[in-house]
Symmetry: C2
Subunit: 525 residues, 2 copies
């Protein structure tokens, strides 16, 4: 290696292929590693120097440190024993797509900066939109001015849609009330979502400075039309301006589906922008038999789902479709007028469809996955994981120590130990401490539940059975410990006996185990 550290293409062949072998070995042997790491916060600093090296080091040294110091601190999201949050995709063609994108290293902020980067994206988001059964108004090849784009995350899609909705509403109100300043109009805008929406939806309200009402859901966790309508009416009476609604298909805690057939007509009639966050469950729509849960999608202004969750495309790849791309261009275009050029309009300049200016060639990985899996491969994946969740539910049903709180929806089952909530909490504490299985807890209708999600694409029935055996064994240990101790103190935060199990709107919040888990099932990453 030269003193500048510059590597020749042949050195890269060796280094890159060693990295390919590292990844193949990692994924191939992932069952050998406990899913959760056994490190404490701050573990890494004492193992690494306090400063960057002065002179170039051989890559072999870095790879050694990767295994020695980094890998012990990795949580293994693709372990078949990872059942927390929601899946994050990881597939070999997705990885290669990412490699190729890094190798070409283009920045696709306009057509000329790499025509293929824009054009392949236009094509593959149309492919995917058709595969999901989206209305053709959302397609580039459709009749209107709609189309899709790859965002980095569902969080960004929610924020992009909100800012476009804000811009559209300010223009509209300004026409009727020319004396109001834009700032005065913006100060009156209100957004709506449900108490089941992902925290990133609430955060978008914070970022966009638009109050985001978290409206109550029905017993099933769904956001309903009458609730939205009442909230709009109440806000209009206060002189506020209802602007933006986020409906969720596949909520974070229980994978509930908001009722688009009720919400959609309310939004359309009242002139509110309807954004659909289908980050996780949207992938299921590659299977026609799953599409009944998105009935009403035609009312939406924008729709987002994450191929990087349940559709084999490595993070980051969140696909967002809009019915009218002009709404985005109006809100985000800062090009001086004299910069218009004759080729604009033929192809989208995607920098106006997103928050940042720069963008990677992410279409490559989506293309790679769609082609090497094909529609049938993706359908087979979804059906298999849905079946595995049903299998897990069946195991829970058969065990009298447990109860299913929410039947399997997509790849998720919510369950708990019969009896006091502390028992379920203690179960999670024990399971987590052993580090061989990763789930997170939540609260459903005032009760502590565990969320079991089929996450890794590598998960087989035997993995689910092994996870269940571990859960059952630890449950036995919990009961034995209980019979030794006279009593366990109840845990009020998780258990609220005043909250009925029945029909009234359930408040469902994410809960933490003691492992320092985040608040947030990774839904809208």
């Amino acid at each position: 290696m030269a003193t500048t550290g510059d590597m020749s293409p042949d050195e890269f062949r060796e280094f890159g292929k060693a990295a390919v072998d590292f990844i193949a070995d990692y994924i191939g042997n992932i069952r050998d590693r406990p899913v959760l790491p056994a490190v404490e916060p701050g573990y890494l600093a004492p193992l690494l120097p306090a400063e960057c090296p002065q002179d170039p080091e051989p890559w072999q040294e870095v790879m050694k440190d990767l295994e020695a110091h980094i890998m012990p601190g990795v949580t293994h999201w693709h372990s078949p024993s990872f059942h927390a949050y929601f899946p994050t995709a990881n597939s070999f063609p997705g990885i290669v797509g990412e490699m190729l994108s890094a190798g070409l290293g283009v920045i696709g902020f306009s057509w000329i900066t790499s025509p293929a980067c824009t054009e392949l994206e236009v094509i593959v988001v149309d492919w995917l939109g058709k595969l999901l059964g989206l209305p053709e108004e959302f397609l580039h090849s459709g009749p209107g001015s709609g189309g899709g784009v790859i965002q980095g995350s569902a969080s960004e899609a929610t924020l992009v849609a909100m800012l476009a909705a804000r811009d559209r509403m300010v223009r509209r109100v300004r026409q009727d009330h020319p004396k109001l300043s834009d700032g005065e109009i913006r100060a009156k805008l209100v957004a709506y979502t449900s108490d089941q929406a992902n925290s990133s939806v609430w955060k978008s309200g914070l970022l966009g400075a638009m109050p985001m009402r978290q409206l109550p859901t029905d017993a099933d966790g769904a956001f309903r039309g009458d609730v939205l309508e009442a909230a709009i009416r109440s806000d209009r009476q206060k002189g506020l301006i209802p602007c933006y609604v986020v409906a969720t298909l596949g909520t974070t805690v229980t994978c509930a589906f908001d009722n688009l057939e009720e919400l959609g007509p309310v939004c359309n009639r009242e002139g509110l922008w309807l954004h659909i966050d289908a980050a996780y469950a949207g992938a299921a729509y590659v299977c026609p038999e799953m599409r009944h849960t998105m009935a009403g999608v035609q009312y939406a202004d924008s729709f987002d789902m994450n191929p990087h969750k349940w559709l084999h495309v490595n993070f980051d790849c969140s696909t967002m479709w809009v019915k009218n791309a002009n709404d985005l261009e109006n809100a985000f275009n800062v090009d001086p007028v004299y910069l218009k050029h004759d080729k604009q309009g033929v192809m989208p300049d995607y920098r106006h469809w997103q928050l940042p200016l720069g963008r990677r060639f992410r279409a490559l990985k989506l293309w790679m996955v769609l082609r090497t899996y094909g529609a049938r491969g993706l359908q087979a994946h979804i059906r298999k994981q849905v079946q595995l969740a049903a299998d897990f539910e069946e195991l829970v049903h058969r065990d009298a120590r447990f109860e299913v709180v929410m039947p399997a929806r997509c790849g998720l089952v919510c369950f708990r130990m019969v009896g006091p909530c502390a028992r379920t909490q203690e179960l999670l504490r024990r399971v987590t401490a052993r580090k061989t299985l990763y789930m997170i807890a939540a609260s459903v209708r005032g009760q502590a539940v565990l969320r079991f999600v089929v996450c890794s694409r590598l998960t087989e029935l035997e993995d689910v059975q092994r996870s269940w055996a571990e859960i059952a064994a630890q449950a036995e240990a919990v009961l034995q410990a209980e019979s030794v101790a006279a009593a366990l103190a109840p845990a009020p935060a998780l258990c609220d006996p005043s909250r009925p199990m029945g029909k009234s709107p359930s408040v469902v919040h994410n809960m933490l185990g003691s492992a320092g888990n985040t608040a947030d099932p990774q839904h809208t990453v």
Copy 2:
């Protein structure tokens, strides 16, 4: 390949290594390809099917289509003949870092979701901060509550800082004026930057709904303290609330440096948040002899630069440092109170430092680059490219048909043909049409100029000389054509004779060639 499309680790070894060879060949032979593609908008759709395949296809077929259909539409950012915008990094260790990040596929939105992902980031942003000579208040290991984080882009960093500034100011004003609503306060906030700032800075004003004043710069393109002070005074007189300032180190068009020693004390005294956008030029500070241009950095609240521009780390990797991380946590934290856990505070939960929830393991590629290049390797890279720009400037100087408009700064030279602006425009048109060289035009003090940037890390003196020979040859052709034609019509948009060359504030805007280039030298991607 199974009908599900699932690939075994051994199939991936073959596929991944073929991709490594593809990248090694691509970079190794990049001089063989014209830098600009010869396609027209819409070229790709007729070459690809209208729908995703039903059945899985072999990866070999996709790789064939990559070469046949995608590569002809790629703009080669790493060609030594790419002199447009600013550099985008592409190095072999950076690529491997991206591969490993994709292979591990972790989502680091909290410590537990992969401790190493958070902890390595904390360590390498400190390494880099020290390497750049940042004040220690910006380091995690420093005395206060400062620290660094990897954002996706400088655009996002500018917006994150703006939203944190907004939140801080709203809290502050609310204390003194409890009758004002948050919306009323926000409607009064104003931000300031210069007319030389990147379009992404202006866009952040649009996104954050805070008017972003584009203040005039001095003859050198720098934003000065007295101009800011006057603007603040004027806005306070109107009852507005000055809130946020973005200063640029290394502006997009001419690589000018705003005067931090003047701006900083104004911001501190007036209570405005000072953000420094050093997206491109920040990399130069790995060389101590370049640091004089950031004198005054100690006044800033936040500082951002892009290792993915000029420091060998593949896009996306934008490193942002703040003096007080609590400002970010206050603005972006939506965790319900009861979700606090005992390990919070020991390590940052980076989801509160950024817009989206999800985040890749980007620290791996920064770590890989810092170790395999070392401080000396990175310094050698910067010094070599600065020298190459000086070499180019010398070539321009020696040719009487040309003039240097802005002397070389970092890797950028602004130059033009002596005589009417139409001549320089025609030169660019000819050069671009031949597709062997890529530059973009700009307007400096009312004159058409060409920006020549040393971009690719592969660029050698011979490449610069070859690019110059091409420019000189096309200049000759322009002059010959002029002598044939009686006269060429002047192009008013690029040439404004009423604007003096001298001391008055120069308006410098990006200009487009006819090739459909973007407005925007890729500065804050």
